[in-house]
């Protein structure tokens, strides 16, 4: 179609009985561009911060396998994607000026031919969500590292994952993934991210704690060099350093590297080692053995076991059993179903460590309980149970 002329525009204004004197001099003649009907363009509504990121040249990534709901990731955040329908038609127009822009820049022409690039009656909405990190542990647990003498690695047919592999498989931003790798004490071996086999990890820890004991080092000042020297013949140096980094806080004093050992984490690991050998334990017997098993100078406390073990105060005698939060489902409803399947009624104190990680930005445990549980009183104590009958 031929482009409209100013004369045709003016004729239309006259027919429409609009007074040109009341209008800005520039008209946009809108037509549909060659690709307009193709549906190749779509709209993504941006949450605060994302617009600035795009303008700064950063990329956003859509991640998800065929069986997963797609998420959008910036460099440090993850968002659920959802289609929003509008009842109106949205047309996207390049080169269309606003009145402000026209007034600011008195044009030399009085007609702009704008081509509509596309149109839609829906757009993608974003909602900030928790990164889906459970899969990360699952992937790395396919083939835990159990030392250089392991026969496994040579004949291993399991996948090993580089950072790039993880970025393409995990529905989370890069920063969230790298942070989680640190949280789970993963380490890079020959370019692949690995989690240590628990028994191997305890073996390494035991080497270190025994050395600390025999050298009478203070738990707050364990020298890296001496550890590497003394233990280097038993285990790879990288592994010795890794166990110190995992279970201690690194610092420098007079140019030398030391570690302040983390009492809570060490006690917790030893508890796991003890608890994983049976379905449940007599609580007082366990507490005794546990205290005897930890390094000299460390004190065990039940609150070190939050999210790892659960005490059953209703049994006689009281018992304790292993229940790891990382083994539970990632989805909110499934998590609560699982917890109520294990125990019918929970106090807030007991259940909090097992739902804390479900809290979205600015969401509280209380809000989660209100949504997914029903409260009642039991012997003067507030307890929570399932909203629905458990099958």
């Amino acid at each position: 179609a031929a482009m409209r002329s100013r004369a045709e525009v003016d004729a239309t204004l006259q027919t429409a009985k609009l007074n040109p004197a009341e209008l800005l001099p520039v008209v946009h003649c809108l037509s549909f561009g060659p690709q307009a009907g193709g549906g190749e363009c779509c709209l993504l509504q941006l949450e605060p911060g994302l617009c600035a990121e795009l303008e700064a040249g950063h990329s956003l990534v859509i991640r998800g396998e065929k069986d997963e709901h797609a998420v959008l990731c910036s460099k440090d955040k993850t968002y659920d994607m959802k289609i929003a329908d509008t009842s109106n038609m949205l047309l996207f127009v390049p080169g269309c000026k606003t009145p402000e822009e026209l007034n600011a820049d008195p044009a030399s022409c009085n007609i702009i031919h704008s081509q509509i690039a596309g149109f839609s009656n829906n757009y993608w909405e974003l909602r900030r969500c928790r990164p889906k990190l459970k899969k990360l542990r699952k992937l790395l647990m396919e083939d835990p590292y159990d030392g250089p003498d392991s026969q496994k690695d040579q004949t291993s047919t399991f996948s090993k994952y580089t950072t790039e592999d993880l970025l393409s498989l995990i529905q989370a931003s890069e920063e969230e993934i790298l942070h989680q790798l640190q949280v789970i004490d993963a380490c890079k071996i020959e370019g692949y991210w690995r989690i240590l086999d628990f028994d191997y990890e305890m073996k390494l820890l035991n080497h270190v704690t025994q050395l600390i004991d025999s050298e009478s080092w203070p738990l707050s000042k364990v020298p890296l060099c001496a550890c590497l020297e003394e233990l280097g013949s038993l285990e790879p140096r990288e592994m010795i350093e890794h166990i110190l980094v995992s279970y201690g806080r690194k610092y420098v004093d007079a140019g030398e590297i030391f570690f302040e050992m983390r009492e809570d984490k060490i006690c917790r690991a030893i508890a796991q080692m003890l608890l994983q050998n049976a379905v449940k334990f007599n609580l007082s017997e366990f507490e005794e053995v546990w205290q005897q098993s930890v390094p000299e100078g460390m004190t065990t406390r039940l609150d070190q076991l939050q999210g790892l073990a659960l005490v059953d105060k209703s049994s006689r005698p009281e018992t304790i059993f292993l229940l790891k939060v990382e083994d539970l489902p990632e989805d909110n409803q499934e998590r609560f179903n699982s917890l109520f399947g294990i125990r019918e009624k929970w106090t807030e104190v007991d259940i909090t460590p097992y739902i804390q990680d479900l809290c979205a930005e600015k969401q509280t445990v209380g809000a989660l309980l209100t949504k997914y549980a029903r409260s009642s009183m039991l012997n003067g104590v507030k307890v929570y149970n399932s909203r629905r009958p458990i099958s």
Partner: protein
């Protein structure tokens, strides 16, 4: 991947800024013809900055709205199946950002063209 495509934008290297036009109803090509190339209408602004759109025999008055949440216009790369709401996987380029929309929600005023002349 959703990458800002700096090659599509102006010489300054910043992302292009487009405008959104929001209209009631649906877009249908006239006379069963192809949509591409056909005219939509004339867009004017009053001196006060009110957008006025003449579409066919209708006048639409609207308003300029600064979007609280801007949009990114995504174009799917690689000639694969079109980006559909259910299959947002693949590589996209951000062609433009939209921070402003022209919202036309008022009932269109018809333009009466056949006014009988007084004899």
């Amino acid at each position: 991947w959703v990458t800002p495509s700096l090659s599509h934008s102006g010489a300054t290297g910043t992302l292009a800024q487009w405008v959104l036009l929001e209209l009631q109803g649906e877009v249908e090509p006239r006379q069963n013809g192809e949509l591409a190339g056909s005219l939509l209408g004339d867009l004017h602004y009053t001196c006060e900055g009110v957008p006025v759109l003449i579409v066919g025999h209708h006048i639409l008055y609207g308003k300029v709205v600064q979007l609280e949440k801007p949009f990114a216009v995504l174009v799917k790369q690689g000639g694969d199946p079109q980006p559909s709401p259910t299959e947002p996987h693949g590589h996209y380029t951000v062609t433009a950002l939209i921070k402003t929309k022209l919202l036309f929600k008022t009932r269109p005023k018809p333009i009466i063209t056949n006014v009988p002349k007084k004899v």
